[in-house]
């Protein structure tokens, strides 16, 4: 193992480690603006320059491997001067006003300039022409603020396999963006917002709709209902200084009530409903395939993630028949609220405004899709990300830390199950579906410790599990002795790997869960920045904790969902469900 001396500290470092990683192991922090752990090391920003004893030039520590006997200085006068020059040059062509930038306070460039004590920019020269792209429902790009670090390019290409963004032109004219200066709505972009999650500055952000929400809250004529996705409760606290993984469900409900929402409901209600529909859909497909020997599209893929749906429409239209026809929980919630709940309180669909709080930017695009008007008006009116809810609460003057705990309202909020909680995690929708489907088929609970399917939990990109069905209730006898094979992928490039395995015949599955964002919705493009794997794990653990403390942990046990079927929907996949809760999608252009 090479011995390396970093700032007079000698440490043993594994072969192949970069100086930057070695320094972190040795407890020395080297600043950087382009490095992205496990995703990108390319020496683009030049902020991580260090001095190696005996070497003529400074080197970028993120791309230089250590060697035995290497002596590194990370804070010599030469290094400090070079780093300061690099940051001043970045600032000299950074067209943005910190006073009004949504990243102020969470901007890595601002924070670095502050750390380096930069009070003057000595280099004044030509600046890029700044172009702001407002064309998509979810994301806003401002090239004036872009520092060309290429993190968004790596995430969009390597993690998501989409490739909407790439450096265009060359030298000083370089712009990171879609082909030929097109706007984002003209190219293949799935709106996942992972670019906005990794951007070190304010060059890519969610489209802010906080003022729209104030607008409906301030209007006494509007009856405003809010739904919150499962992943919010494990991350919202980070906006108010709580450590990652702090569950703030009760305080969040209190805050929403104080903000003036007429009902505080839970997307988890609709997640339980999704399981009833999607689990039944899977069993029907299996029955058709095994008993009626019909041609059925298998495996069935989950459909909760709007970025995944758009990805399939663009890149794999041949799989559209495999996608579950279920709408996402957000959209099921909207459709049920503006029909079933509207009836209960004697209002018309157009009298109710549904606001969603989502960990996701793509949900801002999903709620505007033409398929999502089944209540007769737009089913979900406004979508805020977790970050925007944080800002809404701050603007209201509410001190989040001092809030009491509160509970959500009946009928669409109070009774959610643990199965709905785990929708937030990669593997969670699959686990929730199997908790219900297995029990329907066998009459017994899913035979996994704590109802958690260990092999599909965690952060591996592609996960698989098998569930053997040894006994069944009479209705599902044809499944006796069968083994249900499932796969879970998060990150769309991983989904592509699973698709390749299926299409080459290498793997056969019955059911596949895909979430576009690494870690699932807890790592969504709208979550508090900055999300590392360590933070993903903490949020995932918090969600499992929320699940485990519930009395009801299986979707089919949710009494309000049972009542909804009895009083309104009839049965899963019934006529009313078909109209309100299901949809279909169309192929889109690949470029």
């Amino acid at each position: 193992m090479p011995k390396v001396t970093i700032d007079n500290r000698t440490v043993d470092i594994p072969e192949g480690t970069t100086i930057l990683e070695a320094a972190r192991l040795a407890g020395v922090s080297i600043p950087t603006l382009c490095y992205l752990e496990g995703v990108q090391t390319m020496g683009a920003c030049r902020v991580c320059l260090v001095e190696i004893e005996g070497a003529k030039n400074l080197v970028a520590s993120c791309v230089t491997p250590v060697s035995d006997g290497m002596k590194v200085n990370t804070k010599s006068r030469r290094v400090r001067n070079a780093r300061r020059t690099v940051v001043e040059l970045l600032l000299s062509d950074h067209e943005g006003d910190c006073r009004t930038c949504d990243r102020s306070g969470s901007c890595e460039l601002q924070s670095l300039a502050e750390d380096l004590g930069i009070r003057e920019i000595h280099h004044q020269g030509e600046k890029h022409a700044a172009v702001t792209d407002y064309t998509t429902p979810a994301l806003v790009r401002d090239t004036g603020k872009c520092i060309l670090c290429r993190r968004c390019v790596s995430v969009c290409n390597e993690i998501q396999g989409v490739g909407a963004l790439f450096p265009q032109d060359r030298g000083f004219d370089t712009v990171v963006g879609p082909a030929f200066s097109k706007s984002l709505d003209e190219v293949v972009c799935v709106q996942c917002g992972q670019c906005s999650a990794v951007c070190p500055v304010g060059a890519i952000s969610e489209k802010d709709e906080v003022q729209e929400v104030w607008g409906v809250l301030d209007d006494p004529e509007k009856f405003v209902v809010v739904q919150t996705a499962p992943a919010i409760r494990a991350a919202l606290g980070e906006c108010f200084g709580y450590p990652p993984g702090t569950l703030v469900t009760g305080k969040m409900v209190r805050a929403l009530r104080l903000l003036g929402f007429d009902r505080v409901f839970d997307t988890e209600f609709a997640a339980d409903l999704t399981i009833m529909e999607e689990g039944t859909e899977l069993l029907v497909r299996l029955k058709k395939a095994l008993v009626e020997k019909e041609e059925v599209a298998l495996p069935q893929f989950t459909s909760c993630c709007p970025a995944w749906i758009k990805y399939v429409e663009h890149f794999h239209p041949e799989l559209l028949a495999n996608i579950s026809s279920c709408k996402s929980p957000q959209q099921m919630f909207g459709a049920v609220t503006k029909t079933y709940f509207a009836d209960q309180i004697g209002k018309r669909p157009e009298d109710i405004t549904v606001v969603s709080i989502m960990p996701c930017t793509a949900k801002k695009y999903e709620n505007k899709r033409p398929e999502m008007y089944d209540s007769s008006v737009q089913d979900v009116d406004i979508v805020l990300t977790t970050r925007e809810l944080g800002r809404l609460i701050k603007e209201s003057g509410i001190d989040f830390t001092l809030l009491d705990e509160d509970v959500m309202d009946d009928p669409l909020g109070r009774c959610s199950t643990g199965a709905a909680d785990v929708f937030a995690n990669t593997g969670g929708v699959m686990e929730a579906a199997l908790r219900t489907a297995y029990e329907i088929v066998t009459g017994e609970p899913l035979p996994f410790d704590g109802l958690h399917i260990e092999p599909i939990a965690g952060l591996d990109g592609v996960k698989e599990a098998e569930v053997r069905i040894t006994k069944t209730v009479p209705e599902w006898a044809f499944l006796k002795g069968k083994t249900l094979k499932v796969a879970v992928a998060h990150g769309l490039a991983n989904a592509k790997r699973v698709i390749r395995k299926i299409q080459s015949g290498e793997s056969r599955y019955h059911f596949v869960e895909v979430m576009a964002c690494p870690g699932g919705c807890i790592g969504g493009g709208g979550q508090p920045r900055f999300t590392t794997n360590e933070i993903r794990k903490k949020r995932i653990d918090a969600i499992y904790k929320e699940d485990e403390k519930k009395t009801l942990r299986k979707s089919h046990e949710n009494p309000e969902v049972i009542r909804l079927y009895e009083e309104f929907l009839g049965e899963p996949l019934g006529e009313r469900s078909h109209h309100l809760l299901h949809t279909s999608y169309d192929a889109r252009s690949r470029v």
Binding site: V162, Q168, D169, F172, F180, S181, V591
Partner: protein
């Protein structure tokens, strides 16, 4: 200059007029290169050789055919000055603005060409005869300033001689 690269605005109509034979030859090339690493640049060179420039319809076909994001295909086309997304004239005039040519008057030569042709860099004369580009060193620094017209390298060019040089090409075209 930021974001200066644009695709041909008339591309929609061109899509219909690009002849089927060319497209099928392009598809053959794509089939041949599909599984080869580093295929993008050679395929772009072949396509430009076949068509004379790289229209949007061709670039999109290459993107799908090679399984490369369109943004990356566009990024590579924009990076290398050899590639063009606009149709070029019968003759391509390139003016070297490398260091040696620049200090020996390359800029003045370029200005004279712009005046004589009535076009800017990256444009083509209305009669379709000449396109004007700049280059960075043609390897003849000792004889600066240089220009290239098609494959001919012309040395020690003076702004006053520009009209005479171009007239040779004009006369030849008339003769054909």
């Amino acid at each position: 200059m930021s974001g200066a690269i644009k695709t041909d605005a008339a591309d929609e109509t061109r899509e219909k007029t690009l002849d089927p034979e060319t497209l099928s030859r392009l598809d053959e090339v794509l089939g041949e290169y599909r599984s080869k690493p580093g295929a993008l640049i050679p395929v772009l060179q072949i396509a430009q050789g076949m068509i004379g420039y790289l229209p949007e319809v061709v670039l999109k076909r290459i993107s799908v055919g090679l399984g490369k994001p369109y943004s990356e295909v566009a990024g590579v086309v924009g990076f290398y000055s050899f590639f063009t997304t606009m149709p070029r004239g019968t003759h391509l005039v390139r003016v070297c603005l490398g260091t040696a040519c620049y200090v020996r008057g390359g800029k003045q030569v370029l200005d004279a060409l712009k005046d004589e042709l009535g076009i800017d860099v990256g444009e083509t004369t209305p009669d379709g005869e000449f396109s004007l580009e700049v280059g960075r060193c043609f390897g003849a620094c000792g004889l600066a300033p240089t220009i290239m017209i098609d494959d001919d390298v012309l040395q020690r060019v003076k702004p006053s001689r520009i009209r005479g040089i171009l007239d040779v090409y004009r006369e030849n075209d008339k003769g054909e």
